[in-house]
Symmetry: C2
Subunit: 355 residues, 2 copies
């Protein structure tokens, strides 16, 4: 989903400080609030507003205050192999368990070569890219994925059974920006369909199905129906494999076993997630790898443009540019969200700052 | 690409024995010929004829006889961590290096929890599923991917830069068949477009681009052009990440660095591949996992059918059914391929058997 471009511009630093104070005010420990804030603010800076404060802050605060997400973290290492681990998050904040799991994966991969850590009984963890990118400063390739509430039907069906189940891969480069892939396994996000419905615009073919599981270009029918997975049965297969790894294998919910979206403020979400780190030194000296990456990225960007195209992007490039822009120009917060933030700040006696 | 349904039926056992003798006749050691034959015959039995003897046998024999693939295996373990390894295949038969790499991954994962082994300077390795499925008897989840000669352009470009870069995941179940996902990162295979061109049938929108990188439904224009990746820029990103892991990170060819397809009988292909095994016991007791898998597969198959659909498949199900059918009814070999096999058998003095 594209970022929000309209709105009142706020300096990142001011939003960051306020967000952290909000989480502390609802009882989150300082270190955990810092982690949670950093994950949301990083998505916001990168223009991934679906996973930043614009869309998530108020929702997170509601869940924390309703007690449906545990305010004080309680993690438990349930299984521990030299290269794998299972972390029971006991309904703690998704970001806190994810940070612990990904750090553990990086430390294990340093000595072992690769590591794979899973979390269970967790919550929404923000943007998948944030966790994959944690491996970059250590010269490793990072990977993460999570399962999510069902919005996708298996091919041939009309029962929502699978989430958009996003995954991310981060690969370090040398002088250039790292390659960061972060994608949901559906052709488009639900938010994009909602936007088309609002504007009475037809959808592109292949984006969605109606309630009966028939392909549709009617945005309203799609909102009552299903998102289409990428590549048809291929995306169904990818989303299913991720659901089984993140949900079924970890002992979390999977498939249709999640609480209904309407129970958002009553029942824990109970998602799982997976985190992996791959030590590049197990295959190639890091400086050589980074030099090769710089060459590869240059080669891609120098490809012949397709008819009517002006630029070729590598995965993650747009987000790095958006971050640079938002750091200097400020972060656009839509007026309706500013109003929400003012209300929340008033309620918690932590006034939302002026732009 | 769908399997071949027309042709003369041969018993699997007879084809298997003949294929193995053919490989031995061109100088492949008996144990290596057995591996190679098993990989090709398994694809043939599963109906994946693009990767079985129907399409690959004569091509493999040509490359072996031309000396462009080393007949006698020479593998070298280049780097070795507790959970990772890099195997230099020194242009040996792809299947032989792959078998070594995947066995090594399984053994490492037994003690470590997870393992990730890569091959470099290798050759075509057959169907990705074969390697992922090797993990199943050990109660592990298997994964494999390879890079391939470029047929896909980065989004926005018209330069073929990436292969279809297939990957496979195999997940054990209990009483039911395991879940086996094996997919190329393009919407359709080139073979399917060639078939439409032959029949003068238009393509579905979203399958391909012409030489200029414009979307096309003209099959002939698509054959001169590019395959479309699944989910547009998403599939481009997946194919790129796999190319970097399989090719760039292992020191093999990647991107446009492969020899031209016309040099098929002069230059080694120099592909790389990755193999991973994940020990389920690192997360859940295997019997519990298998029981949960049986339930999940049942739940998927019991979903409401979409309008006009009669059955919901889980990944791999069609291939297991085809294998059962071909084992009892025989394997269909198209007449034109039977003629090729008769010629090859005559040349090597290993007569191709009667049906």
């Amino acid at each position: 989903m594209p970022g929000v471009d309209d709105g009142i511009l706020f300096p990142a630093e001011r939003l960051h400080r306020w967000t952290q104070r909000v989480f502390e005010a609802v009882g989150v420990r300082q270190a955990d609030a810092a982690l949670l804030t950093d994950s949301l603010m990083e998505a916001t800076l990168r223009g991934v507003d679906t996973h930043g404060i614009t869309r998530m802050l108020v929702a997170y605060v509601k869940r924390l205050r309703a007690g449906v997400v545990r305010v004080k973290t309680e993690l438990r290492l349930v299984r521990d192999y030299p290269s794998t681990a299972l972390v029971d998050c006991r309904n703690s904040i998704g970001q806190v368990g994810s940070h612990y799991a990904m750090r553990l994966a990086i430390e294990k991969a340093r000595a072992m070569g690769v590591a794979f850590v899973a979390t269970t009984h967790s919550n929404h963890y923000g943007a998948a890219a944030y966790w994959a990118m944690m491996a970059l400063p250590d010269g490793m390739i990072g990977f993460s994925a999570t399962n999510a509430l069902p919005t996708v039907a298996p091919t041939g069906s009309r029962t929502p059974m699978l989430g958009t189940n996003p995954f991310a891969v981060a690969i370090p480069a040398g002088r250039g920006s790292p390659l960061v892939l972060d994608l949901a396994t559906t052709v488009v996000a639900r938010g994009r369909i909602a936007l088309h419905a609002k504007q009475n615009k037809p959808l592109d073919p292949g984006w969605a199905f109606d309630e009966q599981g028939r392909p549709t270009t009617d945005a309203q029918a799609a909102l009552n129906g299903l998102l289409a997975p990428i590549g048809g049965y291929k995306g169904y297969g990818i989303a299913l494999a991720l659901d089984l790894l993140c949900g079924l294998m970890t002992g979390s919910s999977y498939g249709t076993h999640f609480p209904a979206p309407a129970a958002e403020l009553q029942s824990p979400r109970d998602v799982g997630a997976i985190f992996a780190a791959l030590n590049i030194e197990g295959f190639m000296d890091l400086p050589e790898f980074k030099a090769r990456m710089d060459t590869a990225i240059h080669e891609i960007k120098a490809c012949e443009k397709a008819n009517g195209m002006h630029r070729i992007y590598v995965p993650g490039e747009i987000e790095f540019e958006t971050k640079a822009k938002r750091l200097t120009e400020g972060i656009p917060i839509p007026e309706v969200v500013v109003k929400e933030f003012l209300g929340l700040g008033h309620e918690l006696a932590i006034p939302f700052p002026a732009p």
